[in-house]
């Protein structure tokens, strides 16, 4: 405990929900204020800017659809990552796992002669398995050979990116694409339906929310979830308790990779209807999802909301770019400011500030809990 003027500052181990939400909201407000100065400096009235952003996002049906559409891949990737992160397994590979799902779904869509709805089901199933398999590899490397998973998951992204490039320039290059690097279009049965009047492929949304609930249940109510949490707290304790480290992280990564892959299936079956350049299938969703999961503090249900927050940030960026006609770099500055303040404010949640009671004396560094 420490006295600063009339205030007492105290460190706490786990911040209460009110502190998390309060501090985060304050951080966003401060970021918006700083962004307002930039808008003003660029010659755009901040009031007009935020009015336009509100109209183009939360203030209209089109805007809300846009937020949903931009958050779809982030929900699935983010929920999947919370599972890996709870086991303290730093999966930086959601991008590659997402692309693995896109590849598997494309293979099924183009080459499997399945009727009607079975085709889409098979695409999601194949995608899940492919992403899960892609996710298990770094888990095995870590458990058997002590390979740092941050490096291996990150590197495997590039392998998958080049596999996609190879497929669209090589064996899967579409006969109807006049030599350009795209696969052929999927048949109609392999395309996801949209919410009418929007481009929101709603089955992916349903799957994403269901996945969040399922992962929350796994973590809270199953033996696997318990083991994941124990491994995340302490691998030594887990070993002492007889928990099979390999089995636990392999499962966590199978599910984590599989969920990211479902996002990839959603992108090719709901947006592109073909395999195309990896940078256009995923605009860094797998990396953005890391922040989604991190801001959600490992809670799959909260990840749905942080994913929606990012959908909102992206949609706002589009408004800045198109309606306000600022250079596209401003979008990056805007997004960056929000993240900077959100992440930078995190330490504040761990400090409790209150008025010191009258007469209480400064007692030196007795409570040496401060860092």
């Amino acid at each position: 405990m420490r006295r600063v003027g009339p205030l007492l500052v105290e460190r706490r181990i786990t911040p209460p929900r009110s502190a998390v939400i309060g501090v985060s909201a304050l951080a966003v407000v401060i970021a918006l204020l700083v962004a307002a100065i930039i808008f003003w400096g660029y010659g755009v009235s901040p009031w007009q800017a935020y009015a336009a952003i509100a109209r183009g996002t939360v203030g209209s049906r089109d805007g809300i659809n846009e937020i949903l559409r931009r958050s779809l891949p982030l929900i699935l990737c983010g929920v999947g990552l919370t599972l890996a992160f709870r086991a303290q397994f730093w999966n930086i590979g959601a991008e590659g796992q997402l692309l693995a799902g896109a590849v598997a779904a494309t293979g099924v869509a183009l080459f499997a002669p399945l009727p009607g709805p079975w085709l889409l089901l098979a695409m999601f199933a194949a995608g899940f398995l492919a992403g899960g398999a892609w996710g298990i590899v770094p888990a095995l490397l870590r458990a058997k050979l002590h390979v740092n998973e941050v490096i291996s998951t990150l590197m495997m992204n590039y392998i998958m990116i080049y596999i996609v490039e190879w497929l669209i320039h090589g064996p899967w290059k579409g006969a109807t694409m006049r030599g350009f690097a795209y696969s052929d279009f999927f048949p109609a049965a392999a395309r996801l339906p949209w919410i009418p009047g929007s481009r929101v492929h709603w089955p992916t949304l349903v799957i994403g929310v269901a996945a969040a609930v399922a992962v929350a249940l796994i973590l809270a109510r199953t033996r696997l979830g318990y083991e994941i949490r124990v491994v995340g707290q302490s691998t030594d304790a887990a070993r002492y308790a007889g928990i099979d480290f390999l089995r636990v992280i392999a499962w966590a990564m199978f599910l984590s990779g599989g969920l990211a892959a479902l996002a990839g299936v959603g992108e090719v079956a709901g947006v592109h209807f073909r395999l195309r350049s990896p940078t256009h299938i995923s605009m860094g969703y797998g990396y953005t999802a890391i922040i989604v999961a991190w801001l959600a503090r490992g809670s799959p249900l909260a990840a749905v909301f942080t994913a929606l927050l990012f959908g909102l940030i992206f949609a706002a960026g589009d408004v800045i770019k198109v309606a306000l006609r600022m250079p596209f770099q401003i979008t990056g500055v805007f997004n960056g400011l929000i993240l900077f303040f959100l992440i930078g404010s995190e330490m504040l949640m761990y400090w409790r500030v209150r008025l010191a009671p009258k007469g209480e004396r400064w007692t030196g560094r007795a409570g040496s809990s401060e860092r």
Partner: protein, 383 residues
């Protein structure tokens, strides 16, 4: 009688006012770019065209840069909502999204760059470089001492393949044993990869360079080692004034001004564009040969090119310098009398692709997957 005159006067006045009113229904033109306007390549060049349109035609323009291919429809929606009545989409990957949007907004005029799908309110346009690449090839063939010319290619798609083949035809017209060595980088904009590819080509023995990539990297890396090169897309003379021989420069404004002029005049409407396809080359001034605009050949290389005399089957003994300008005149003036792919042209596997006396059709050009003799290196999708 008086009444008739009055009615006639009112009718004339209405018609005149109506026409004026129509002409004043201001055009608002939207441009959607795939890259940043600061890339000094494709999107940069389209944006220069937009600025000239704004200046010369006095129309209002709006642009969106760095639009991912799958997102084009969202941005079209936003531009239409803002009141754009003409929209240009400037990447092949925007094709199907633009077509879908054209069907959704039948009263908006669309034009898509480099694609092949059209609709009553969707035209297509392209300014192509293959003739210019051929002319640059003539100069490269004269300047190489090792007989190996290096080429850094972006993607192995028909457009780039066509350009490399036209370039190679030029090289071998003046230097029949020379070869063109190709490295692909699989990016439109990636200076690091372009640098690596150029260095690998230098290690292979190449001493003259051409490329398809949206930065001046190849020019700079080659110049560091003292090798000549050809600029691409934007004028690159200033990046290495002693080493840029010539290059390809685009003038999208020629197409934009022509198209929008016809829209303003009421010639193009949202109902009659199904057959409007601009395939503009040297003779329409949509592309230009030069290290920079107005400098077809860098004077530094004039002496070397004039000293390189070939025994040409058509023109007899002629310097490469003169040959370049003869060919430029043949392709650059209306009534074109020469095409780089004039038969007989064989692919590098020995198959006859263009019979003697024939030129390639437009369809054959834009779907071209084969490589001419003299191209060395991997060629994905080679038939």
């Amino acid at each position: 009688m008086r009444l008739v005159r009055l009615v006639a006067a009112v009718m004339v006045a209405t018609a005149v006012l109506g026409a004026v009113g129509f002409a004043q229904a201001k055009l608002k033109v939207g441009f959607i770019y795939v890259g940043p306007i600061g890339d000094y390549g494709w999107s940069h060049a389209h944006n220069l065209g937009r600025l000239i349109v704004e200046r010369d035609l006095g129309v209002e323009t709006v642009y969106v840069e760095s639009v991912p291919e799958g997102e084009v429809e969202t941005y079209i929606d936003q531009l239409v909502r803002q009141g754009c009545n003409v929209i240009f989409t400037t990447s092949f990957g925007f094709m199907d999204g633009t077509l879908a949007a054209a069907q959704r907004y039948p009263n908006v005029i669309f034009a898509h760059c480099s694609g092949f799908k059209r609709a009553p309110n969707l035209a297509t346009y392209m300014a192509d470089f293959y003739q210019v690449y051929y002319l640059n090839g003539l100069m490269a063939g004269a300047l190489t001492k090792t007989g190996k010319v290096g080429y850094v290619g972006a993607f192995p798609i028909p457009e780039v393949k066509r350009h490399i083949s036209a370039f190679t035809i030029g090289v071998r017209e003046v230097n029949p044993n020379a070869t063109v060595h190709v490295r692909w980088i699989y990016e439109w904009f990636n200076p690091a990869a372009a640098k690596e590819a150029t260095e690998a080509l230098i290690a292979e023995g190449c001493d003259v360079f051409a490329f398809t990539e949206d930065s001046p990297t190849v020019v700079q890396v080659a110049a560091e080692k003292g090798f000549p090169s050809f600029g691409h897309y934007s004028p690159m003379y200033d990046f290495a004034p002693n080493h840029v021989v010539s290059g390809q420069i685009v003038h999208w404004e020629e197409i934009y001004v022509d198209f929008l002029g016809k829209v303003k005049a009421g010639e193009y409407t949202a109902k009659n564009l199904a057959n409007v396809d601009y395939w503009w080359l040297l003779s329409q001034k949509a592309v230009e040969l030069g290290a920079k605009s107005g400098m077809p050949v860098n004077p530094v290389f004039e002496g070397a090119l004039k000293a390189y005399i070939v025994d040409h089957p058509v023109f007899g003994r002629i310097s490469v310098y003169d040959l370049v300008f003869v060919r430029l005149a043949q392709m650059g003036n209306p009534g074109i009398t020469f095409d780089p792919f004039e038969g007989p042209v064989y692919d590098r596997k020995g198959g006859l692709q263009v019979p003697a006396g024939h030129w390639m059709s437009y369809d054959a050009l834009i779907t071209m997957e084969w490589a001419v003799e003299g191209v060395v290196g991997p060629w994905p999708g080679e038939p």
